[in-house]
Amino acid sequence: MKDFSKDPPQHVFQIHYNGFIDGSPHYKIIFVTKEDHEAPSNAELVEEDPNDPYEEQGLILPSGEINWNCPCLGGMASGPCGTEFKDAFSCFHYSKEEIKGSDCMEQFTAMQQCLQLYPELYPQEDEAASKQSSKDSAMYFSRLFLELPTRLCWRNFQ
């Protein structure tokens, strides 16, 4: 730690040395103004490894697979409808159709049916969903899955 007491730099507003233990400063306090922190930092940070196997991953892993353990999914993949949800979302994720997910109607319907069994867990926001045509359903589900991560984080989905 630099010794500021002899030659305090101009920009630092105030420095205190308090609490010495065995001659070395135990705690140091610096007060800084907004101007002090205007210049960009020259602190060096270790470069991030995008393939770090230990780092917390997002919803989609670098390999392209779905991270079912992502906190953003809430309890969707682990609850009573977990299997149906995983089937539906996987199908959607790997779907190559023009309308993504339009080939997954079977899985979507199965998931929908399961969700309806647990209204306490999965409150149905869209009452109209059940009345949609198959094409609309595909659109509905694709919208649902696309906004899944952000949606769940804000909604505190159970």
């Binding site: 705690y27 610096i30 930092s41 917390e56 353990n69 309890g75 682990s78 299997t83 505190n156 159970q158």
Partner: protein, 641 residues
């Protein structure tokens, strides 16, 4: 064969003796037919001249007596050998029975009848149907003493005898692990065994948000308002999320089942099974121990007797919250002993009540200021002043000498002579990690930090992992530690769940923690935050904008790193008083405090700055030596919101 050999050995000298005597006598009496060897051996004993008939009779008698004696001895020895052999064989055959007896009835006295093993399998099947309903109904039925007749119990109401994933303990770590297992292993069957009557719930709101609720029925609903205005329950999931333990084995897609009001008392690691307090045995493939801990008590209170203990709360569970809420409405004075996170949070929560009800709230602790073991001294003093403004009478440097019950009030005597009279005590003096299973399971307990010792992958032994408050684990970056915070329970529980499903990942993602002491003081922290370490604090001048409340209202977004944790944040505190605009230049409104060990940053506190946890995490992860921490502080943009 052995018998014969030993017997022969015993008989041999006698036989030799008697045969020699016999031969000698035969020679003497001339019974042989004249073919006496001419040269008689010189070493023949000369007992006297070869005598006549009287002597012969004597010799005959002597020989007879000796032979008879020999034979008798031989017979007796053989008989005793036989008897000993029988006893030994019996002992060997009963030994396997005895070990299984000691396993099953560990708490019973050693003198156990040998027909116990037969009784064990039938005990396993005797599960009361009433208890099967326990997870669904929120009531807490006692363990039945009289098991119903085995024949009448239908198969569908049997508790599972095997659980692929067995989680001991029903708290945050356990639930996080259950969720992780279910996410990674499709169709996983997870059984949580807990001695509490409740489903898994989160603990932080018990000392924060629940106290700020306007709902008079909050002790029943246990719902609180989050930062975004939305209400939620402290329970992680409603009862419909779980399946009944009886349905676990047959569930096609698996599920999570919770077995309430049962305590695991014995663990057989080699047999991969546990025994509950009602003698039920459950075997497992993978097991997690997440037993958390028990609140510590002051020795002086324990010794003070029943009267004092009745007026003391050791705060940890839902029932403690309910009872303290009730007590705080009915007494005039409450004293909190302990100046750490829990003590200070409860003091602030009760202190806010004091303004409405006239309740006297006292907080006492041995340190010089609140959070004295965590915050550097200047910040601890500043925090103490803030706690006092919440309506709390803070007594610092207070060591309790004795507690007595007098005239239905409690009298606390401190070592320096001060006396405090109060109606109720809340002890928040630490947590004793629960390592009851260490002995039977043969698990190592850490002598420095307490808790089960596990490696960096949270594994204690084959097929056994430990997570949460009870785990003393090896942190690759910061060394061996044991952490008692909510986010750590979530992170470690999730990691244990991953490793139980084959991941082998070490503890890498640093957990964080937070605390709010009233509307003006809020901080998030990460890493090792110990006031005995040298610290460097970088502060900005505080304005009215820099409080948790203000930050919440302005951004309308999360002020905690919730995307990683279960949703627990401080509610917008319903305060009528405006946040004081700190003009004094020594006021510690906003800033960053770095904790150093060997010049490397090992801990960071974000003081009233929010949403910067990822940067803090990165700095700790790097573990670099930084020459100028002011430069590092710039990364946090403490002047921005």
């Amino acid at each position: 064969m052995l018998k014969c050999r030993t017997v022969w050995r015993k008989l041999a000298p006698l036989a030799k003796c008697s045969s020699t005597l016999c031969r000698q006598n035969v020679r003497r009496t001339g019974l042989n037919n004249g073919r006496t060897p001419v040269c008689v051996p010189a070493a023949r004993m000369s007992t006297g001249p070869v005598g006549g008939g009287g002597d012969n009779l004597k010799y005959a008698l002597l020989v007879g007596a000796v032979s008879a004696g020999g034979l008798l001895y031989a017979v007796v020895t053989m008989k005793s050998d036989q008897r000993r052999y029988k006893e030994r064989m019996e002992e060997l055959s009963t030994r396997p029975q005895k070990t299984s007896i000691t396993e099953q009835t560990q708490s019973e006295p050693p003198a156990v009848p040998e027909d116990q093993p037969a009784a064990a399998p039938s005990i396993e099947e005797t599960s009361s149907p009433a208890e099967a309903e326990a997870p669904k109904e929120e009531t807490a039925p006692e363990v039945t003493d009289t098991p119903p007749v085995v024949d009448s119990t239908p198969v569908s109401l049997k508790l599972p005898s095997h659980a692929p994933y067995l989680l001991i303990g029903g708290g945050t770590a356990s639930f996080a692990a259950a969720r992780s297992i279910r996410a990674r292993d499709p169709g996983a069957k997870v059984l949580i065994v807990t001695d509490e009557p409740d489903l898994p719930y989160m603990r932080p709101p018990l000392s924060k948000e629940l106290w700020f609720s306007d709902d008079p029925a909050v002790t029943e609903t246990l719902r609180f308002k989050q930062w975004n205005g939305k209400e939620r329950s402290i329970y992680f999931q409603p009862p419909s999320f779980y399946i009944r333990p009886e349905d676990l084995e047959g569930a096609e897609n698996g599920g999570v089942a919770v077995l309430n009001n049962r305590k695991v008392v014995y663990m057989d690691v080699r047999g991969n099974k546990v025994k509950l307090d009602d003698d039920t045995e459950i075997s497992y493939d993978k097991c997690l121990i997440a037993t958390g801990g028990i609140p510590r008590n002051l020795q002086v209170i324990e010794r003070a007797g029943e009267d004092v203990m009745k007026k003391t709360t050791l705060f940890r569970k839902i029932e403690d919250f309910k009872s303290l809420d009730k007590v705080s409405r009915n007494v005039k004075s409450v004293t909190i002993i302990g100046g750490g996170f829990l003590g200070s949070e409860l003091a602030c929560a009760l202190g806010r009540r004091s303004t409405e009800s006239g309740l006297e709230v006292i907080q006492m602790f041995p340190e010089k200021g609140n959070m004295g073991k965590v915050l550097p001294e200047y910040l601890s003093n500043w925090t103490t002043e803030k706690v006092k403004t919440e309506g709390v009478k803070v007594l610092t440097e207070a060591l309790v000498k004795s507690v007595n019950c007098k005239d239905d009030k409690l009298e606390i005597r401190l070592k320096d002579g001060r006396v405090v009279t109060t109606d109720h005590i809340v002890a928040a003096v630490g947590l004793e990690p629960n390592v009851d299973l260490a002995k039977s399971a043969g698990l190592e307990v850490d002598s420095d930090f307490g808790g089960y010792r596990v490696n960096a992958e949270l594994q204690a032994r084959s097929n056994i992992w430990v997570a949460g408050d009870a785990a003393c684990f090896y942190d690759i970056r910061l060394g061996r530690r044991r952490v008692e915070h909510h986010d750590h329970a979530v992170v470690s529980g999730r990691l244990a769940g991953e490793n139980m499903t084959g991941a082998s990942k070490p503890y890498w993602h640093q957990s964080m923690f937070w605390s709010d002491l009233g509307p003006d003081v809020g901080y998030e922290a990460i890493g090792i935050v110990d006031s005995s370490l040298p610290t460097v604090g970088v502060f900005a001048k505080a304005t009215a904008k820099d409080t948790p409340k203000a930050a919440t209202e302005k951004s309308g977004t999360g002020i905690r790193s919730e995307s990683e944790t279960e949703d627990t944040a401080v509610s917008p505190v319903a305060s009528d008083t405006p946040s004081p605009a700190a003009e004094h230049k020594d006021d510690f409104g906003k800033g960053v405090i770095f904790y150093l060990r060997d010049k490397v940053v090992v801990g960071i506190i974000l003081w009233n700055v929010f949403n910067r946890m990822p940067i803090a995490r990165k700095i700790i992860k790097d573990g670099e030596e930084h020459a100028d921490l002011n430069e590092v502080a710039k990364l946090f943009n403490i002047h921005e919101d």
